[in-house]
Assembly symmetry: C2
Homo-oligomer: 122 residues x 2
Amino acid sequence: MIEVDFRDARPIYEQVRDGLRRLIITGVIEAGEKLPSVRALSASLAINPNTIQKAMDALEQEGYAYSVPGRGSFAALPTDVGEGRRRELLKRLSAAAQELRFLGVPEEELIEAVRKREEDDR
Amino acid sequence: MIEVDFRDARPIYEQVRDGLRRLIITGVIEAGEKLPSVRALSASLAINPNTIQKAMDALEQEGYAYSVPGRGSFAALPTDVGEGRRRELLKRLSAAAQELRFLGVPEEELIEAVRKREEDDR
DNA sequence: ATAACTGTACTATAACACCCAGTACACACA
DNA sequence: TGTGTGTACTGGGTGTTATAGTACAGTTAT
């Protein structure tokens, strides 16, 4: 369900956070649906529960999930995602586009990459 | 010329590396032109020379610059930038676009962000 | 030749983030 | 009652980051 690479320079909790976010974005887990529990993810990924908890905290802070003690964590509505996240993504989009244009990639190719909707990332 | 925020979570050497890359991308420093020397940057930014050196190494590894002992570091040609950097940027572009669409941002707005060329990013 | 500048390479240290192990508490649900 | 849940601690190990200091070899201008 989620892939974690221990050799990757990126912290594990970020990889888990991004993996969970991706499940929500791609619709695998819809709004209101339950996310994997901390202990379940800890067991299936062979990662310390504290690290999973940290990923959950980060995801909740972004607005992509909310937690209910005793019940579990759930996917939030897209409208609950903070404005900071939107601004960061738009900044990333512009920065990547600008650098790619500097590198000689034609504008049409960039627009096509934006239009295309796929999930074959890493 | 380059801004460094010590309170930022991002490592200083990454901020310096990104700042130098931006100078090249925006055309402030053209291909073949000399980059600020390690010691000059170290003095003007009040940062240890080792940290600046690390930023230079990273930039050179990306292909954005090359160094000549005794002479200095210089901006490389866009064609010298590694293919890995291009693939990473395209991945970032797609990922950001996909998430923004999930958040309800209309496709036209994304395309406009890609077309627009500005330099007001941090 | 001399001086000043350049990239580069070491050693050593301190601070911090990351990840782990282990334990514990309170709540929800069947 | 038992199981599963989020959450909160303490400790310890490890690697990264950034620092200070020193040093060497090459280039450039005086």
